[in-house]
């Protein structure tokens, strides 16, 4: 079976793609807010709006892996039984990843 697309089909596809890309933005679906932002806003009461202080340790712009690993350690009780340990226990793994990623994009 020949799976090589015909030149004509290719041309049609390219034109269709170009049309799609050029479609006016008003026709686009409503863009959802950045993933993780609302979750991360749970941090703001103690770490400042957007994780930029004033408050406890600043979170904005930290490496997402570093932040996630730290949260994981809190969650597993490896950082004692303080308020952050209990707080971290309230999130799923996916939520901790999402909020860490969003905070890492903040400057």
């Amino acid at each position: 079976m020949n799976i090589t697309p015909s030149p004509r089909l290719l041309r049609t596809t390219v034109v269709a793609l170009a049309t799609l890309l050029a479609a006016p933005l008003t026709l686009a679906q409503p863009s959802p807010p950045p993933a993780g932002r609302l979750l991360a806003s749970n941090c703001f009461q103690c770490h400042g709006t957007n994780g930029r202080g004033p408050g406890f340790e600043q979170l904005a712009g930290k490496s997402p892996n570093e932040m996630y690993d730290k949260l994981r350690e809190f969650q597993l009780g490896k950082e004692g039984d303080g308020i952050m340990a209990r707080h971290a226990m309230g999130y799923t793994d996916a939520q901790m990843r999402a909020l860490s990623l969003w905070l890492s994009t903040q400057r």
Partner: protein, 445 residues
Amino acid sequence: MDRRHFLMSSAAGGLLLPASHVFADDHRESGHKRSGSRSSSEAGSATAPSGNVATPPAKPKARVIVIGGGMAGATVAKYLRLWGDAVDVTLIERTAQYQSNIMSSLVLTGQRTMASLRFNYDTLQSAYGVRRVVGEVVEVDPVRARVRLASGAWLEADRIVMAPGIAFDSVPGLNDPNRMPHAWQAGAQTTLLAQQLAAMPANGVAVLTIPKAPYRCPPGPYERACLIADWMKARKPRAKLIVLDANPDIVTEVDNFSQAFYGLHAKVIEYRRGVEISSVDTGQMTVYTNGGAVQADVVNLIPSQRAADLAATTGLATAKRFVPVNVLSYASTAAPLVHVIGDASATTQPKAGHIANQEAKVCADALSRIFAGGQPDPAPVTNSACYSTITRSQASWLTATFQYDALSATMKPVAASSAASVGWRSDNFEQMNQWFNALMADSFA
């Protein structure tokens, strides 16, 4: 132009104005002055946004009226401006400054001044482009999304967010409330209660009453009792504090408060549970209860609570006396264009400032999505956290994280995250100050 004057003239003319148009001239003028001369450091905000957020949108895509400038109202106004796409926000609040309830029991022991617990709306206005109306809302039209001010003017919007807080139930015989102050909305009564405590004899008796839950700040009355007891040991060495709790037992942080009441402060605090107030006699300074009469030199009478009256007159509060809401957006289940956040709403979450701040963010995020043609986040998370003063220099902490549960359509506390500190420590007391400063900045700056 003077705001009040403009409002009154518009009312006299019988005009119905979009909230965004009421102070257009006034705001353009002050916006110029402020944005031209102030830096973000002058605004006292480490997070002051740049560019177009600082001034109200010239062509708003949606308009929101926020009623009430407490923890919930201030936060939702700020985050609607931060997260919304050209959302015009008008914050209506009757007072010029917010007097924080959080930390206000420390005024009773002389550790905090009332002034140190005041927060203004300047940064919301100058750095976030929130329009301010100093006024009293007397009527909400939940169908047409408009509100009437005491001045007579009507303001209209696309959505209304109500954050009106609580009202106190009346207590039979409480003819002069200042004789038995609640001091549960920080203000003149806080100062008054501090004076009454200071003036009581060294071997005097004080009474503190705890209303049936739900009420504002579940650990609050217990921490106040601990704080007063610790203060009495130093200042009123033979005095006694009788705690009359309408609940069957300590409602939260049971281990810490039990140890404090029955251990640390046992010589000062007499804790009586399941005691409900039936009436009072302010002349005789007597409290009548199902467990007999109690006479005292000072009575801190904290009555049972309900949503602020505006919620009831708008027809939103039910027999449960708070406002049922959809916790994905905080839209009232009775009036979908009116959202209710903070202590006035009926949810599974505690009534307290920290979580009111998070409810406000969930509401702001939901409204931003709705205005963009989308749906609220289907899986919101909120959290509650606070510190309780067990002595004048030591504190405990209490926290809980809430996840949306689709089956029950409620916010469910995550069991592992719902906990208190084991005991109390002085470093927690320092962290309490840090937490308070951060929380107030996230809400007002």
